[in-house]
Symmetry: C2
Subunit: 101 residues, 2 copies
Amino acid sequence: MVIVHVFIKIKPDMIEPFKAATLKNAQNSVKEPGILRFDFIQQEDDPLSFLLVEVYKDSNAVAQHKETSHYAEWRQSAGHMIAEPRKSIKYVNIFPEDKEW
Amino acid sequence: MVIVHVFIKIKPDMIEPFKAATLKNAQNSVKEPGILRFDFIQQEDDPLSFLLVEVYKDSNAVAQHKETSHYAEWRQSAGHMIAEPRKSIKYVNIFPEDKEW
C-alpha cells in the first residue's frame, strides 16, 4: 500500500474553480481499481490550503493514475491555479491494516 | 464533521513502544460511535514522525473522545515518548461527502 498526502496552496480568488476541478478528478480517481481512497479536504483556518489524501494498492497503481485522462485534465485545468510547488509526504499505515482500507 | 490531523514527533528509540501504545488507542477509538476514522500512519522518510488522521461526526464526538479511558491511558503511556509539542491541523471535507466517511 502507498499513502501519499499532497499539500496544495492555491492563488487567491481560485478557491471555487480549484474545488470544482479537483472534485471532478477525485470523483474519477476513486473509480480506478488501484485507488482505495482519494480524499479532498480544505484547511479550516487557511482556505487557500488543500490536501489530497491518496491511498493506492501499490506503486503500480500510482503510475497508472498518472496516465489517466482525468489526471491529465486536472493538471491542465488546475495547474495555473496553484500558487507554489506541491509538496508530498509518503506514509506507511500502522492502523488500520491493508485490508481495512 | 470534524477532521483533525495530529502530527507527532517522537524521541529516538521510542518507535516500537509508541507504535504499541498508539495502536491500542486507535483500535479502541474506532469503536466510539462518534469516530468515523482513526488512522495511525508513519512518515516513510522519517520514522520518528507519525500522523493521526482523526475523523469525528461532530465536535461533541471530539469532546467525548477526550473523556475516554483509552485516551487517558494513551496520554499517560505515550506522553513521555513525544519529542515536541503535538501540532494539529483541522480540515473540512470536500470529497467524499459526510455520509461516505
